[in-house]
Amino acid sequence: MADDFPKTPLIDELEKGPWPSFVTEIKMAAKDNAAPKDLLGLLEQSYDEKICHWKHGGIVGVLGYGGGVIGRYNDLPEKYPNISHFHTMRINQPSGWYYSTEALRKVCNIWEKHGSGLTNMHGSTGDIILLGCTTDELEPTFQDLAKEGFDIGGSGSDVRTPSCCLGKSRCEWACYDTMAACYDFTQEFQDEIHRPAFPYKFKFKFSGCPNDCVASIARSDMSIIGTWRDDIRMDKDAITDYASNGMDIQKDVVDLCPGKCIDWDGKELSIDNSSCLHCMHCINAMPKALRPGTDTGACILLGSKAPIIEGAFLSSVLIPFIKMEPPYQEIKDLVEEMWDLWCEEGKNRERIGEFIQRMGMGNFLEEIGVEPVAEMVAHPRENPYVFYEEYYEEDDEEEDGD
């Protein structure tokens, strides 16, 4: 069967070289499936013409859900009939992307039965991506997966599949249980994940420490980043070991501290924890000697996104520190409060970060009932154009204090 592969001299070049080849992957799948075989032909044509051959998605999905399936059709269906529909299914990954081989093999078997046999492990948001499904097979694929305990993720103007770092499962720096929080929020907001009802997408990402391995500060509308507020834990013997093993503690640790709060006299390391910015550098550099404190929780930031439409944003601080304990009710209440406001006042395709900038962070805080604190800004305003909302008249009566 391999003999009737289309001739693909251009993309065959991408089977050469030491890095794993996606072309080889497509060819592996094409041995017993007509869809990837057509994909090889279509991709070769794109490489020849320097243009893509996919059309805009239509509205396709599974019964009762509005998200999780991205419709995709090619613009040369007569030439490549086996990928005339080639929809993407996003399957909600388990927290931390842990699998048993048993579960993963089941997903493979289901995808062999219903789809192209091609996947992304994983997509940018974190889902398992099943790449290339016909319209008819969407619902059967979904139900077969559901029987094995898997559900579809988000797409469109809904809560996108939340994701998290591996947190306490294998990292000594995790300041809260990211995998538990991610699972909890995902279950709490099932309706919002499957049924788009927002102005635009909303992403949660859970990182266990300020190293932010899931890029939550750049890629999520709500970034929940672990941190601590007591002292960095220190193992003095381990510090001595680092020094005697040749580490230049002054140059590699002290001089690079952004808070300038570490001293090293050649024997002893001291940290002024009141000036610590919780950046993680010293801990990253000396993992055997230094650890985050034990009064741990998270800093919650809002509003990051890629450029479309108002430019790229990083998230900014909403709550400087909060303890992260199930059922996380305070955070969920705040989320609902923000969603109500955004759904009421937000424009079509306006992310919450853009919405906040349009209405003003001060006004936004007032609406959701959060007090402004200095931690929310890099610095106070530089311009004097304050929108004061009230003023006094000569004949105003002084109000009684109550």
Binding site: P20, Y98, A312, L314
Partner: protein
């Protein structure tokens, strides 16, 4: 027929606990420290005295079920049937016996998967779908990623750079790959305003939505041949493709004008410097499939110059902040052009507002 009565919905993902390797489950929340035994091999030690070895292998993000099964075979052989993936498409194998490290690495190598991606080096490139599966791609994703990784694989396997270098690729400005905070970002760009398909537009698109979608108000309602449609002030188009996202009759894809831009100096970690956006280094490189040698060469050049000049722990953005952008352009030989100067909202904040310059 859909069996409505027995349908399962809204169950969410499977609970992660059932997938954890026993040593991970037993030491959950008890990890004390870790060390890097060699690039791609980590050892985490618990308060309980237990230790877990992790071997990290690079993968192509696009994988066949056949390959996943082979990877499962390795996880069965070495890890009691458990494995995980990282946020950057790497595959991680965890076990407790150090003597399994070398045989596993050998088996991975035989399967075509290099081991590395830890510490001060390059790890797998986060990327989008490109010509494999996307309607708005200005370039392919997987092909460039494969070509770049073939070239920089030494830094994946050896971790021999001043600091981490995170590369990401997005095939258009929508940035499904959110590349805007990467040490090196490869970004597909369109350079021709949308072509208006008047015949289909009135059937496919809601004109008020299309007009409202344009951030620069370049799109206006218009009557064309007696039918409602739109007109576009091409001088105002900044090629964001937001109109195309809401209206399929306004494609921007164009083989003559699409290509790749390179951005540098972003990071998401809070370590040392605060998170930073990537900034424009090279505005445009023509698409040159199948291996985009000009893109590969440009990235190699930036990495080599940075590697030769940066201090330990200095990521590309931190290095450039120390030496200044003029020196970055001088050292890399990249030409500074008009388009490097921002002209979108708040552009003035990016002008140099001091005499802190190098000569």
């Amino acid at each position: 027929m859909v069996d409505l009565k027995n349908r399962i919905t809204d169950i969410g993902p499977p609970h992660y606990e059932q997938f954890l390797p026993p040593v991970i489950k037993a030491n959950y929340g008890k990890w004390k420290y870790h060390e890097t035994l060699k690039p791609g091999v980590l050892k985490h030690v618990s308060e309980t005295g237990d230790a877990v070895i992790t071997v990290r292998a690079g993968g192509s993000r696009l994988m066949s079920i056949q390959k996943i099964r082979m990877i499962c075979d390795l996880a069965d052989k070495y890890c009691g049937g458990h494995l995980r993936f990282t946020s950057r498409h790497n595959i991680e194998f965890m076990f407790t016996e150090e003597e399994k490290i070398e045989p596993l690495i050998a088996d991975l190598k035989a399967l075509g998967h290099p081991v590395g991606g830890t510490g001060p080096g390059i790890t797998s490139i986060v990327h989008t779908q490109g010509w494999i599966h996307c309607h708005s791609a200005a370039t392919d994703a997987s092909g460039i990623v494969k070509s770049v990784m073939d070239d920089v694989i030494g830094h994946f396997e050896k971790a021999d750079l001043p600091a981490k270098c995170r590369i990401a690729l997005a095939c258009c400005l929508n940035m499904c790959g959110a590349v805007h905070c990467s040490d090196i970002a490869i970004l597909g760009v369109h350079r021709r305003p949308p072509t208006i398909n008047h015949d289909t537009l009135r059937k496919q698109c809601e004109i008020p939505n299309v007009v409202a979608s344009c951030p620069t108000a370049a799109i206006k309602p218009a009557e064309v041949d007696g039918n409602p449609s739109v007109e576009i002030d091409e001088d105002r188009c900044m090629f964001c493709a937001n109109c195309y996202t809401v209206c399929p009759s306004l494609p921007l894809n164009n083989a003559l004008n699409d290509g790749v831009s390179i951005w540098v100096g972003g990071k998401v970690s809070n370590a040392r410097h605060e998170p930073m956006f990537s900034k424009l280094a090279i505005p445009f490189i023509e698409n040159n499939p199948p291996r985009w040698p000009e893109v590969v060469g440009a990235i190699r050049n930036i990495i080599d110059v940075w590697r030769g000049d940066a201090n330990k722990y200095e990521r590309i953005g931190e290095w450039i902040e120390r030496i200044g952008w003029p020196k970055f352009f001088r050292m890399t030989g990249i030409e500074f052009e008009k388009v490097h100067i921002d002209d979108f909202k708040h552009a003035g904040l990016t002008y140099k507002r001091s005499t802190h310059l190098t000569y």
